[in-house]
Symmetry: none
Subunit: 121 residues, 4 copies
């Protein structure tokens, strides 16, 4: 578990939690069947409420990235590398549709967007 929480961010804490673990799973950093820390322990370590952790975990479960077994813990779902790549692109695309609609509202072309993107990377 390597999570960074920012209180000053405009993103809700549970969202930050969700995104970071989601990214780690889809990067393959947390192997299949990996056991996530107990929500209470995670809450204490990250200095957030149990409910906040739970909300992030629930979203992960809804996406099929983890599964929880009552009384035992939460575990990373077993996904093939292909599944993971596809799910990763799905998530990024979904966000990209929103992001680009903003860029496009300024009348920017795809090529110009590429140019700016290169600067940022």
């Amino acid at each position: 578990m390597n999570i960074a929480i920012s209180n000053s961010s405009d993103k809700p804490i549970y969202q930050q939690l969700f995104e970071q673990i989601c990214a780690q799973i889809l990067k393959g950093e947390l192997g299949n069947g990996y056991s996530l820390p107990p929500i209470r322990q995670a809450a204490t370590e990250l200095r957030v409420s149990i409910i906040t952790v739970k909300k992030a975990w629930e979203e992960l479960e809804r996406l099929g990235l983890i599964y929880t077994v009552t009384g035992k813990g939460c575990f990373v779902a077993e996904l093939s590398p292909d599944d993971m790549l596809q799910k990763r692109n799905e998530m990024i695309l979904k966000q990209m549709v929103i992001d680009t609609s903003y860029y496009k509202s300024f009348g920017i072309t795809l090529e110009e967007t590429f140019e700016l993107l290169k600067e940022v990377y």
Copy 2:
């Protein structure tokens, strides 16, 4: 004034207003010195609160895109095409830094990002 407000969007209404007018100005659609409609009129037409319109106008003024003449109204600032292009890129870049940090958290490369971006456009 050609504005589309969406209640179902997760963006606040004043932000939607701000972004759309901002884009129109920087695309050159609203010429120098163009007079924005009075706040009350805009609020009525768009069926939003006066406060909401005020907030959007204030943000535009803060960026130097419009200026207010008390008792007369709000007008589009006089910007050269170069100024507009630069300001446009500034605004897009600023947002792009945030957007790409999300993409990068998944370990995606610049090339892969290009690929996905093409799909979206």
Copy 3:
């Protein structure tokens, strides 16, 4: 709003809330655009926590039965009678698959199930 909460039930409160409002919407008792009571008011009236109401509302929104507008309230989505009927059957079928797997584990036939069902109705 005509909701009955039971603390002794084995179902979580937010689930009871969700199911009852869901049923009322799909029965057409709450017309399109009907404004749900503010979560705080609902919480007070039903003597439950804000968070509990919120959780039920979230589930309703996830199913597309209501939509929330920050600062304004929550409203019943606009669904055609056909949409409602289909969604109703979807929900019942989903539960029925679980229920019948239990019946079938006893080796009961469809006809015998009908007989018992008649008794219950």
Copy 4:
């Protein structure tokens, strides 16, 4: 003993155990006087806790489907085919009352329920 345990199910494990053995007894698959495996052995084979098995066995005994002879083991009670059929229907009916109350909350008729039931079977 032919039992399938699912961790991903929302039903507690002891409940799954209970239901499956119960069904097997009432289907007549486990004859009168059949000796259930010792708790420890069952726990090992099914990879569950002894406590979990114990809980399931207790529930079976409470219903009079098995009886324990201290120091010897647990045995399937002697029931006539009629007793078994009646007990089976009792158990199914009890669950059906709960299940149908959910269906009925959507305003569905008995006939419509039949239709959906046919699809599921």
